[in-house]
């Protein structure tokens, strides 16, 4: 069956995405690329195959051998960009299992950490979108302003990237008034910049000509294939885990959900900028309304073993809905831990949406789904007529093909 397709098409493009899993504590997990094989006839994509092989599963077997506490540190090292939400989901799953309730001040601090992470992740993916279509100036500007968020994270967490702040029953660090003023200062400097970038994305002619009407998804297609996060909200469906589950302090903080109805790549990027502006407002509200009371939990007094049962926690990561399922039979080690990241589902289930587009649009669509793209490799173009291969970076695909009709 494959040879039929090979007869009609002229080029085959293989896009390997390496999803690197930096698991520092025990050993580097095995990793293999995810390969997106696209068969193209001239300029148009006619057939898609997804060849996977990435391994994130070393972690699930590893977590069964370690205690609940060590697993928390392993869980926070699954992803570099969204480590705060991984920690939060695991911590809440175990808290539901053992019926521990954290104090209100700890809940507000957790929200602060997760929202700061959302801002920096959305700025990163928008910068990469700008770089892929060739707008290097904008990429540099967004990265420069992202440094303000990294400094704010360093003040709260003690580290720019890795947030080891969650613990069962509360948090591990606290902030005082001096730190609060410093963070508010940084947020005030950041706000006009984000608003400027959002306006630029909507009005600039080079961005809108590359992004409008590209990768249009209808709402029924999105739901059938379980695509999540800003993809869902960019196609008109009102669904957000923070609204539905109201975990931590999201029930108390006033915020509104961002939904757009067009369903193309530009709508998805604009959903992300609007969410970044909402997150900034939420951070300000949290800092000004922090309740008094204890927040730091004493780690010496936590229980050694946890009761048996199962629990299921969901959290809204910047890329979608993240799920942790924890089952325990009593004892100090969990029986089964299942992690389902949103990027895995978004990339593997979305093969149908590339068909009919031209080659130059493929990187744009792929980046608008937001894979953990900091580990993205080069694409391999196989010219099927001459059987020659060459390695090109993804930017080459996006920039040097013929102009779209």
């Amino acid at each position: 069956m494959v040879s039929d397709i090979e007869k009609e098409t002229t080029t085959l493009i293989k896009i390997p995405i390496t999803l690197d899993v930096p698991i520092g504590p025990q050993h580097p997990a095995l990793h293999e690329p995810v390969m997106l094989k696209l068969y193209a006839d001239g300029e148009e994509v006619v057939h898609v195959e997804i060849n996977t092989g990435y391994n994130h599963r070393g972690i699930e077997k590893l977590m069964e051998k370690n205690s609940f506490y060590k697993d928390k540190f392993i869980a926070s090292r699954v992803c570099g960009i969204c480590n705060g939400v991984h920690e939060n989901c695991y911590t809440r799953a175990v808290e539901y299992l053992a019926d521990i309730e954290p104090p209100p001040r700890a809940k507000y601090l957790r929200v602060l950490v997760m929202e700061l992470e959302r801002i920096h992740s959305h700025m990163l993916i928008n910068a990469i979108m700008a770089e892929i279509i060739g707008f290097d100036t904008l990429f540099m500007y967004i990265m420069r302003d992202r440094e303000l968020v990294m400094k704010a994270k360093e003040i709260v967490l003690g580290h720019r990237v890795q947030s080891d702040i969650h613990m069962f029953g509360g948090v591990r660090r606290d902030i005082d008034d001096v730190k609060k003023d410093k963070i508010l200062d940084l947020l005030n400097k950041l706000e006009p910049r984000i608003k400027y970038y959002r306006k630029l994305f909507e009005e600039d002619s080079s961005i809108s000509s590359r992004l409008t009407e590209v990768g249009k998804l209808k709402s029924s297609e999105v739901l059938n294939n379980s695509l999540l996060g800003p993809i869902l909200r960019g196609s008109g469906i009102k669904s957000d885990v923070r609204l539905e589950d109201r975990y931590d302090a999201y029930g108390d903080i006033p915020w509104s959900i961002v939904v757009r109805s067009e369903g193309d790549s530009l709508a998805r990027m604009l959903v992300r900028w609007d969410e970044a502006i909402e997150s900034l407002e939420m951070c300000r509200y949290v800092l000004e309304h922090l309740p008094q009371g204890p927040a730091v939990v004493d780690e010496r007094k936590l229980p050694r073993t946890f009761p048996s049962g199962e629990s299921y926690a969901r959290v809204e990561a910047p890329r979608g809905e993240l799920i942790y399922y924890v089952a325990s039979v009593g004892g100090a080690n969990p029986y089964r831990v299942k992690i389902r990241t949103p990027s895995a589902t978004n990339i593997i289930n979305s093969g149908f949406s590339y068909i009919g587009h031209s080659i130059a649009d493929i990187p744009v669509i792929l980046v608008s789904y937001d894979p953990c793209i900091s580990c993205m490799e080069r694409a391999i173009i196989v010219d099927l007529k001459n059987r020659s291969e060459k390695n090109v970076p993804l930017r080459y695909l996006a920039q040097t093909s013929k102009v779209r009709a």
Partner: protein
């Protein structure tokens, strides 16, 4: 609107790149999670930090024969391998007597200062 106005403004201001570490140094927070080591005046040798470390970076070593401490009957003290440590600070928080000293030192790539042994043994001399 276009980005041209922004570009012209940046052209006339100084570059944002900080040339670290050759020409400038950066200011970090005072409670950054940096290099930490045990204080022998307080350590009781219970080994809880070595058991709880997620990356198995702490090893308990025996004190030399001429040092006898009343609060450390077994004569063990922790030595951290900074190459394996992930700086999660679990050892700092779980110690029953708060025997760890924390510093914001973060420039740690070296082949000579990999273990915390010298820093820990020096805490006995300050008396």
């Amino acid at each position: 609107m276009s980005i041209v106005r922004e570009v012209i403004k940046s052209f006339f201001s100084k570059p944002s790149t900080i040339e670290y570490p050759r020409k400038a140094s950066i200011a970090v927070e005072k409670d950054l999670r940096g290099r930490h080591y045990a204080n022998l005046n307080k350590c009781i040798g219970c080994s809880i930090c070595a058991i709880e470390c997620p990356s198995k970076a702490i090893e308990m070593k025996k004190l030399s024969e001429d040092i006898k401490l009343k609060h450390n009957p077994r004569g063990l003290y922790p030595v951290i391998n900074y190459m394996s440590c992930v700086f999660c600070y679990r050892c700092v928080r779980v110690c029953p007597v708060d025997a760890y000293i924390t510093t914001p030192v973060h420039q740690l790539s070296s082949v000579k200062e990999v273990f915390s042994e010298n820093l820990t043994l020096k805490t006995l001399e300050v008396k």
